[in-house]
C-alpha cells in the first residue's frame, strides 16, 4: 500500500507510523509545506557543493533507502575519501544524536558539517553557500514564502530538517505483527529471531524497544570491538585482498599493489574524537535497525557486506580487547539461530520506501503534491 504518509488524519497515514514514537518538532521550527518543498529542493541540489557535482542526495540516495549501497565509505568532492559509510536518513526524525560519533544533536544544524567538510561537499564557507542560494533564480521567493525572509544558514537548516523529518518509515511486517497484532504478518522464523534478539542474544540491550514503539536504538555509544579491529587491520603487514574483476572472476591482490595506487585508510577513533575521553575510544552510536535490510553495507565504515556477516561478527563476541563493551560476548548461535535473526532483521523493512523514493525525487505522493504539512505526530500545532 502506497501510504500518503504526509496526509493528516486518514487511516492509511496512521499506518506508516505503526511502531514509531511521536515525532517531536522543535518549537522554533514547526513544519510547513513551503519548508518541506524547499528542504527537498536543497537536498537534491548539486550546486550546493564546491564544484557543483554533489548534492546531499548523492550519498543519501532515495533509490537506495537514503544510503549509497554501491560503496563502503563515502566519496566526496574531487573523489576525496570519506572514512565512514553514509547513514540512512530514514527516521532521522527520531535520533537524539547524529553522525556515527554523535557529534551533532539537531537536524537543524547537522547539515553544516557535510557542506564544509573538505572530503564531502567542500564549500569554502557557509556565507559562500548562502550567497549562491540568494543568486539562484530558481530559489526566488522560496525562502521568503517559507520563512518570511531571505536565505540564511538558519533557514537552510530548518528547511532541510523539516524535509528529513518527513522521511518516516514504520509499519514493517514486524510492526504489523508485534504492535499491530497481525499474527500472519511475519513467519515463525521472524518470531523466533525476535525472541533471540530480545532475549538470549541480548541485542535489544542496545537496539532497544518500548512497549508501544521501537526505534531499535538506545541513542548511546558502545565499543563492540569492530572499530578497534579495523584499526588493527590497518597496521597489518603484507597480505592479499580478494578482488572481483568480473562476475565470478576473483584474483588475490597483494596489499603492496593496492598501496601503490591508494592513499590508505585513515584512523577512526569513533566517539573519542568528539569527547577526547579515552574511555570512548572506538565507541560508535547504536544505529537504528529499522530498514536495515535495505541499507547495506554495514558498520560505521561499511566493512561488512551482509547482515549474515554482521551476525557472525557478534556471534564470535565482537573483537576482544580491553575496551570491549561487556554486552558483547560469544553467542554460540546455531545456523538456524542466525537464519532466524536475519529473518527478523529483514522484517524491519517498511513498505513505503518506494513511495519515499518517488516523493524525494519528484515531490509527488501518489502523483499529487502533498496538501497538508507533515505535522502528524507533532506535539505542537504548527
Amino acid at each position: 500500500m502506497r501510504d500518503n504518509f504526509l496526509r493528516e488524519g486518514s487511516e492509511a497515514d496512521q499506518s506508516v507510523f505503526l511502531g514509531l514514537p511521536t515525532i517531536e518538532h522543535p518549537d522554533d521550527n514547526p513544519p510547513s509545506l513551503a519548508k518541506l518543498e524547499l528542504g527537498r529542493k536543497l537536498f537534491l541540489d548539486r550546486r550546493l557543493s564546491a564544484n557543483g557535482t554533489m548534492a546531499c542526495a548523492t550519498c543519501h540516495l532515495p533509490e537506495q533507502a537514503f544510503v549509497n549501497r554501491e560503496m563502503q565509505t563515502a566519496v566526496g568532492v574531487e573523489g576525496r575519501s570519506g572514512r565512514r559509510n553514509s547513514p540512512t536518513l530514514l527516521n532521522s526524525a527520531y535520533l537524539t544524536t547524529l553522525f556515527h560519533d554523535g557529534r551533532e544533536i539537531s537536524l537543524e544544524t547537522q547539515f553544516i558539517a557535510p557542506l564544509l567538510a573538505r572530503n564531502e561537499m567542500a564549500n569554502p564557507s557557509i556565507g559562500y553557500v548562502i550567497e549562491n542560494l540568494r543568486s539562484f533564480e530558481d530559489y526566488d521567493g522560496l525562502f521568503e514564502t517559507a520563512f518570511g525572509g531571505s536565505a540564511s544558514i538558519e533557514k537552510m537548516g530548518q528547511a532541510l530538517a523539516v524535509f528529513q523529518r518527513s522521511l518516516v518509515a514504520g509499519n514493517s511486517p514486524f510492526d504489523q505483527w508485534y504492535f499491530g497484532g497481525n499474527d500472519d504478518a511475519v513467519s515463525n522464523s521472524v518470531k523466533n529471531g525476535f525472541e533471540l534478539f530480545s532475549g538470549a542474544a541480548g541485542c535489544s540491550n542496545c537496539h532497544s524497544l518500548h512497549q508501544t514503539h521501537a526505534m531499535f536504538t538506545d541513542n548511546r555509544f558502545h565499543n563492540i570491538g569492530y572499530g578497534w579491529m579495523r584499526e588493527q587491520d590497518r597496521h597489518k603487514g603484507e597480505r592479499t585482498v580478494n578482488v572481483q574483476v568480473a562476475p565470478g572472476v576473483h584474483y588475490e591482490v597483494s596489499s603492496s599493489v593496492i598501496e601503490s595506487v591508494g592513499e590508505g585508510r585513515q584512523a577512526d577513533l569513533g566517539r573519542y574524537e568528539v569527547t577526547q575521553n579515552p574511555k570512548h575510544l572506538w565507541q560508535f552510536r547504536t544505529p537504528s535497525l529499522r530498514n536495515v535490510g535495505a541499507t547495506a553495507p554495514y558498520m560505521h565504515d561499511g566493512g561488512l557486506s551482509t547482515l549474515a556477516d554482521v551476525i557472525d561478527f557478534y556471534d564470535k563476541g565482537g573483537a576482544r580487547h580491553a575496551l570491549l563493551s561487556p554486552w558483547v560476548r560469544p553467542l554460540h548461535l546455531t545456523a538456524e539461530d542466525k537464519d532466524n535473526l536475519e529473518a527478523f532483521l529483514n522484517s524491519l523493512t517498511s513498505e513505503n520506501l518506494d513511495c519515499l523514493e518517488v516523493y524525494a525525487r519528484s515531490g509527488l505522493i501518489d502523483g499529487n503534491r502533498p496538501q497538508v504539512a507533515p505535522s502528524l505526530g507533532t506535539t505542537r500545532e504548527p
Partner: protein, 435 residues
C-alpha cells in the same frame, strides 16, 4: 562512367585519407575526419591540474614535434581552463577545426579552436550545461565526430553517480540535440542480448564503421568509482561489482542499439581497422586483461570473443589505451600497473601474438602513433585518484621512434617538473590541415 564506378573510386580514396593533399596521423580518430598522413607538427595534451602544483588547473598543453623546429620536444603553449574537472578524453570536430575536451567530474566541455593557429590553441567555448541538457548524464568521455555534430559517451548519471548512462549528441555549434540511453536489462530499447550478456547500461568508448553502418560502445564504471581512490576501491567489494561487462552494437544512422555482447571486466577503448574489407574491431578489458575481437562472422552476424591475454591477468596489469597501425597489422597495448606497452601482431585478428614489450615508466596510460607508425607517443595519467602515489607518480609525455624492432626514445617532457599536472589524452595537430 556510371555511379558504381564512382563508388569504387571513392572507396580507394577513402583508404588513402582525405582531403587529398594532406598526408597524415594518429590512427584512432573518427573516420569522418581529415587525417595527418605526413609528420604531425603538434601534440595537444589534455592535462589534469593538481592541487598545489602551478596554477592547479586543468590545461591543454601544446608540445612542438616539428622535426626541424628549434623548440621541438618542448611545451610551446598551455591554456588553463579554470578548476580541476577530471580532464580526461577529447576529440576533434569532423572538420578538425575544434578540439572538444571533457571533464569527467564537473561535466564541463571545453571547445578549443585549433585551426586559427595550430601552435596556439585557444578556448573557444565552454559548455556548462551538459547534465541539464542531457537529462542527467554525467561524465562526458569520448568525443566522436560526425559531420556537423559531436557524439559524446557518458560514464555516469546525476541521480546515483553509478554506471547507467547515455550517448549525448551536440551540433558543432555546441547546441544540445539528443540523448540516447544505453540499453539495460530492464529496458533493452530494442536490442537483443547475446551470449548471456546482461545489459548494464554502462558507457565508455564509441567507434563506428561507416561502411557497415555500425557503431560500437564499451562500458566502464560510474562517477562513484572513477572518482574514488583506486586502492580504496580495490578493497571495496560493493564498488568492484559496479563495472561494465558489455559492448553494445548500434545502428550508426538511427543511433538505435541492436545487440549487447558479454565482454566481462570493463572493456575500454574500441578500434576499428582501416582496411576496406576489415569487418572487425578490437577492445581490451581493463580488469580481466584480455584483448577482445568484435567481428562479423561468415553469416554476416557480429560476434564478440576474447582472442588474447594481455600479460598475466591474475597480476591485474590493467590494460588501458590501445592504438592500431594504419596498415592494420599491429596494435600497441598499454597497461597501467606495470607501466608497459606491448605490441601485438594482429595480422590474423583472431590470433593476436605479442611480438614486443617495453616498460615506458612506473605508470603509463595513453598511446598515439603517427600514420606511418614510425613515431609513438605515450602519456602517464589514468585518473586523478587512480594514478600511483609517491615516487611512482611519474607524469610525462614520452616520444619514441619505432623501427619495427625497438622503441627508441626521442624526447621526454616531465609534467611534474614543469608544474603542469597529470598528462592524459594526446591529439595531433598540423597547420597543413588548414592550408
Amino acid at each position: 562512367m556510371n555511379r558504381r564506378e564512382f563508388g569504387l573510386l571513392s572507396a580507394t580514396w577513402l583508404a588513402a585519407g582525405l582531403p587529398t593533399g594532406l598526408r597524415a596521423d594518429e590512427t584512432c580518430q573518427s573516420p569522418y575526419m581529415p587525417k595527418i598522413t605526413g609528420h604531425e607538427e603538434f601534440v595537444y595534451v589534455w592535462t589534469l591540474g593538481v592541487e598545489g602544483m602551478g596554477d592547479g588547473q586543468d590545461k591543454l598543453v601544446t608540445v612542438d614535434v616539428r622535426p626541424n623546429s628549434p623548440t621541438k620536444g618542448t611545451v610551446i603553449n598551455s591554456v588553463s581552463v579554470g578548476g580541476r574537472n577530471e580532464a580526461h578524453h577529447g576529440g576533434f570536430s569532423a572538420d578538425r577545426r575544434y578540439f572538444w575536451a571533457g571533464g569527467l567530474d564537473t561535466n564541463r566541455i571545453f571547445i578549443f579552436d585549433v585551426h586559427s593557429d595550430p601552435s596556439q590553441p585557444r578556448l573557444h567555448k565552454t559548455i556548462e550545461t551538459f547534465v541539464e541538457d542531457s537529462g542527467g548524464v554525467v561524465g562526458p568521455h569520448t568525443f566522436f565526430a560526425l559531420p556537423g555534430r559531436m557524439l559524446i559517451t557518458g560514464l555516469s548519471n546525476s541521480d546515483d553517480h553509478g554506471g547507467r548512462t547515455a550517448l549525448v549528441e551536440y551540433n558543432d555549434d555546441g547546441d544540445y540535440l539528443a540523448t540516447y540511453w544505453m540499453p539495460t536489462a530492464d529496458d533493452m530499447r530494442g536490442a537483443v542480448a547475446v551470449d548471456g550478456a546482461v545489459a548494464d547500461g554502462y558507457g565508455y568508448d564509441i567507434r563506428a564503421l561507416i561502411r557497415k553502418n555500425i557503431m560500437l560502445t564499451s562500458s566502464f564504471t560510474g562517477w562513484s568509482n572513477y572518482m574514488m581512490d583506486f586502492g580504496q576501491m580495490l578493497q571495496d567489494p560493493e564498488a568492484m561489482q559496479r563495472f561494465g561487462n558489455t559492448i553494445v552494437q548500434w545502428d550508426l544512422h538511427t543511433r538505435q542499439p541492436r545487440k549487447v555482447f558479454n565482454v566481462p571486466g570493463a572493456p575500454l577503448e574500441i578500434r576499428f581497422p582501416w582496411g576496406s574489407n576489415a569487418n572487425y574491431a578490437f577492445s581490451s578489458t581493463a580488469l580481466t586483461s584480455q584483448l577482445w575481437l568484435i567481428y562479423e562472422d561468415d553469416a554476416g552476424e557480429w560476434q564478440a570473443k576474447a582472442v588474447a591475454d594481455i600479460g598475466n591477468p591474475a597480476d591485474i596489469p590493467l590494460p588501458v589505451d590501445i592504438s592500431i597501425a594504419a596498415d592494420d597489422q599491429t596494435l600497441w597495448v598499454n597497461s597501467f600497473m606495470d607501466g608497459k606497452t606491448r605490441l601485438f601482431d594482429v595480422s590474423d585478428p583472431h590470433n593476436p601474438k605479442q611480438v614486443y614489450e617495453k616498460v615506458i615508466g612506473p605508470q603509463v596510460n595513453m598511446v598515439s602513433q603517427s600514420w606511418d607508425g614510425q613515431r609513438v607517443y605515450f602519456t602517464s595519467s589514468l585518473l586523478a585518484n587512480w594514478d600511483k602515489k609517491g615516487e611512482d607518480n611519474a607524469q610525462y609525455l614520452k616520444a619514441y621512434s619505432w623501427d619495427g624492432n625497438e622503441l627508441v626514445e626521442d624526447f621526454e617532457i616531465d609534467f611534474n617538473a614543469l608544474n603542469l599536472g597529470r598528462a592524459h589524452i594526446m591529439r595531433f595537430g598540423s597547420a597543413a590541415l588548414y592550408a
